[in-house]
């Protein structure tokens, strides 16, 4: 089980958290202007690196706030909190 550092509550068990996938995916500035391919890219395509990955977590069973982490997907090591 991962031990996840919530920026507000400190280290807590993974079971208290909900995973949110890749961080820093912004909603398109002007959705109407996107082509189908660009819209598909926004909706369906995310980074899937073997290595460091900036991702979102929500502390569901605690403060219920979202935050970002950088975790290594090959080792599960949490590298940095952002």
């Amino acid at each position: 089980m991962l031990l996840i550092p919530c920026p507000w509550c400190g280290d807590r068990d993974e079971t208290e958290f909900h995973y949110g996938g890749q961080a820093h995916v912004a909603y398109p500035q002007s959705p109407d202007a996107l082509s189908d391919a660009q819209w598909a890219e926004y909706l369906f395509v995310r980074d899937n690196p073997k290595g460091e990955f900036a991702e979102r977590w929500c502390h569901n069973a605690g403060c219920r706030r979202w935050f970002n982490l950088v975790r290594d997907t090959a080792t599960h090591q949490i590298v940095v909190q952002r």
């Binding site: 991962l2 993974e14 369906f44 995310r46 073997k50 997907t73």
Partner: protein, 405 residues
Amino acid sequence: MSAVLPEHPEFLWRNPDPRRSYEVVIVGGGGHGLATAYYLARNHGITNVAVLERGWLAGGNMARNTTIIRSNYLWDESAAIYEHALKQWEALPEELDYDFLFSQRGVLNLAHTPQDVREGVRRVNANQLNGVDAEWLNPDQVKEFCPIVDISPGVRYPVLGATLQPRAGIAKHDHVAWAFARTADEHGIDLIQDCEVTGFLRDGDKILGVQTTRGPIMADRIGLAAAGHTSVLAGLAGLRLPLQSHPLQALVSELLEPVHPCVVMSNHVHVYVSQAHKGELVMGAGVDPYNSYAQRGSVHVIERQMAAALELFPIFARAHVIRTWGGIVDVTPDASPIIGATPLANLFVNCGWGTGGFKATPASGWVYAHTLATGRAHPLNEPFALERFTTGALIDEHGAAAVAH
């Protein structure tokens, strides 16, 4: 001492060095890659083929799955490809001259809520319209088919019924891979282990070959069949795919007397259980939620799965967990595979099988061989093209079929 040691068994395949070029190069020597090689030879007469494997043959998810084979999917596109697979499973032991213990003992998908019941009955009707064998069982019939299931109404998730696919079952996964590998090798196909692809040789948007740890290899067509590592490989060609890699865990008990006559799956409580020929109880869970390439997951996922299994099967209370393990599965947004061409000429993908790839092995190989031989999709994999994420014609199997594949 040496007098009593048995002879070394015959080697099932050669261990060749790579040649400089091939007609088709398949990247990934798991079940799907080996089946593709076999069907290239069988269906298309193409034997100038190499299968490149970074580790050893069938050492990834092919060695880590729970061996369940079924075709009772809801949507037409899925039912067609998985039923094609099941028909091949029925023919393959004789065709490959290899008894890989394919046992059609029946798969139950349990329903625990009124909505489960509605979805189950709907799926049975859809299956029957698609020529897939399916029946709806009430709780007493479930008990008759699998006497060790607890159908008492007082449990947290009571059994309200189940779908049954009688032709579904299990097979011995390692032997399936070895059977495909031996036959592909007999056709002259090179199975090259310890050969990692580190880059692509290209001319603009045209892929000409692969760079490997054993030198460059040219090919007319290149097919990726690398499951959880597909994103990493595609990334070497600058290609982004709608895939996320997750751990999927499973476990076995010690060897027990035969107590479990079939396969039981429950989406609602996320567990699936069968008993291997040797006697281990084999159980699988759902994926861990986070992205990972570590081939291990979190223990609470196992704990939850065991709790569910115990409630359904009180007889397992004294069984012990002997081993747990994880594989890395590549999941698409609609939980259906991607099989076909990419924006790069001569580069093809067969990925996104998620948690359900083993059962599809023969059909996956069949349609991918067709695609690599002709450059065009087989009718069975046409709906599974990468373009569906742009057109919106998704094949949404999340929750429609059994989520726990």
